[in-house]
């Protein structure tokens, strides 16, 4: 149908137009753009390295925190929680995903940043200051608040997908493990986790894709500063947040084009992450359950739970 063709064309146009806008910058800086950490509108020297570093560090660490936590939440929701609690808690976790990022960013600036600056960062530094990540002086803006905000944003997504994957684990397998005398955790470790492994990986990469591309909340808390610092407390910047924070301040066409170049790099990262994640998730869910998982609203808990 025409509508489908139009949406396919839209994607192609989107990719083309972003690269087209980046054209001036691409021909000006070439691939050296990726390796340079300078961003100076006055001397018209632009480079992406410090933003790539910020993006990579913030979203990877956020994922390191969010991944295990989401798996734990999903386990709680599919195996541990009393039946009456499962639906409401699952809904609440999904509502967390619906909070607009700008509101989380606002909360990050006004509530979380002072707490980090005054309490958490000094504590981390005195306890773990010998690790470069936790050295340097505390500041309300920086990578750490960005990581925490991204964690809050990715947990619900990863948890929701992981929960759906866990629900596809056949009850017979779980019951067999329990009947053989394993404790519930052993059942989880030896049956559920191996069975759902690729699904968990897919869900995590999906979360990574979201974290990579988040612009607003990160801009609000990260401090918008060029340069690569070892410390998590220091202000930094990511690809997306640099684009967002410079939106009205761009002075030359070359700078605007460089912003588009940043977007193009980001687009490539995000597309790769999403494509991999979707392929993995689709393969596992298709293999396990012909009817795909619901879009936003979680499917009713239809899996017959023999053992609660």
């Amino acid at each position: 149908m025409l509508a489908s063709v139009a949406s396919m064309a839209l994607i192609a146009l989107l990719v083309y137009k972003v690269f087209d806008q980046a054209g001036e910058s691409i021909s000006h800086f070439g691939l050296g753009f990726v390796g340079s950490s300078v961003w100076n509108p006055v001397t018209r020297r632009f480079g992406a390295a410090s933003f790539i570093y910020g993006t990579a560090v913030s979203s990877l660490i956020a994922l390191l925190i969010a991944g295990p936590m989401s798996v734990a939440i999903a386990l709680f929701l599919t195996e541990l929680a009393p039946m009456r609690v499962r639906r409401p808690v699952a809904t609440l976790v999904e509502l967390l995903a619906a909070i607009p990022s700008v509101v989380l960013g606002l909360w990050g600036i006004i509530v979380m940043a002072p707490f980090l600056n005054g309490t958490l960062e000094p504590a981390l530094r005195s306890a773990l200051g010998w690790i470069p990540l936790f050295s340097g002086s505390a500041s309300p803006f920086g990578l750490l608040p960005a990581i925490l905000v991204l964690t809050i944003m990715t947990v619900p997504i990863v948890a929701a997908v992981t929960r759906e994957v866990f629900q596809t684990v056949p009850t017979e397998l779980k019951e067999s493990a329990l009947a053989l005398g394993s404790t519930r955790w052993e059942m989880v470790r030896m049956v559920i986790l191996p069975y759902a492994k690729s699904g968990i990986v897919g869900a995590s990469i999906l979360g990574l894709g979201r974290a990579l591309g988040e612009a607003i909340a990160v801009t609000q808390v990260i401090g918008d500063e060029t340069g690569i610092h070892a410390s998590l407390f220091a202000p930094a910047d990511t690809l997306a947040s640099r684009v967002a924070s410079t939106y009205q301040g761009a002075t030359s066409t070359l700078e605007i084009s460089s912003l588009a170049y940043l977007s193009a790099i980001l687009l490539v990262f995000a597309l790769i992450a999403n494509a991999i994640a979707r392929l993995i998730v689709r393969r596992t869910t298709v293999r396990m359950r012909p009817a795909g998982p619901g879009p936003g609203p979680g499917p009713a808990v239809t899996v017959a739970e023999g053992k609660a």
Binding site: A6, S7, M69, I99, V103, I216, A260, L266, A291, G292
Partner: protein, 316 residues
Amino acid sequence: MSVGGAGGGSGGGGSASAPSRAARATHPLLAPNPGLRRRKLVNGAMEGTATLAALIAVAVLALVILSVLVKGISAINLDFFVKGPAPFGQSGGGIANSIVGTALLVAMASVLAVPIGILVGIHTSEFARPSVAASIRFALDILNGVPTIVTGIFVFGLLVVGHVQSGYAGAFALAIIMLPIVARSAHEVLSLVPSSLREASLALGVRRWRTVLTIVVPTAASGLVTGALLGVARVAGETAPLLFTSSIASNLVSTDPSQALASIPVSIFTLSEEASPAAHAQAWAAALLLIFLVVVLNVIARTLFGRSRARLGATR
């Protein structure tokens, strides 16, 4: 992660006699098991961790919503809804221009994205060959994964460069974000419609397109509305695509979409970057309004979805 099959293996010895839970403790094969205590401890620790993680997630949600509620509610008054931002240096004022702007932007985006999205959903679930449908759905997922700031840059290059920022450009950017959400959920809902209904209609000699139009779509109608509402809820809170397309707006209430329109998320963003407590108070109030809007839309969508799901499940 692969270590420690020993515990599970030794427990397996007792399964032949299938002991009841009470008998298992005293069963000779299991009772002297030295690892059991440790295994139970590990089990307890892991269950505790998982429960804790869920509690933390709910607590964070509560924390965010409570701080928005507490800080926002004090700044909400009638002026907040009916007045534009106060001139520089004065107190008071409201975000009427943003409320109107968001309503317009989201409405225009919906007009664009909902029909196309539903058509795409109908195409992938009713007409396209499975392989084609799969690749279209994959493309939609990819589109859904495009960072919204990149969508903003795209529309900026397409519609704003050489012109001015406009409500149309903003709405177009929002529509791009909405499209995959609407299309995907339309597909999911339509594929829930029992094929017996389709076959009954086709067997009566009704043409394919009429079957879709008069049987399949009405059956799934509330589910289709769900998808649209979820799309609206999502884009109502989007800031990033509007920064480049519709952010330099006037402080007056404006309904002219050929000019940049103010919007609630962009207002929160700019207010939060200011240093004054008064601006922050307004930002909190706007955030409260936005969260209220988004949560209400989500709850309505979920209720509708649950209802249509139950109905379709019953007919199957």
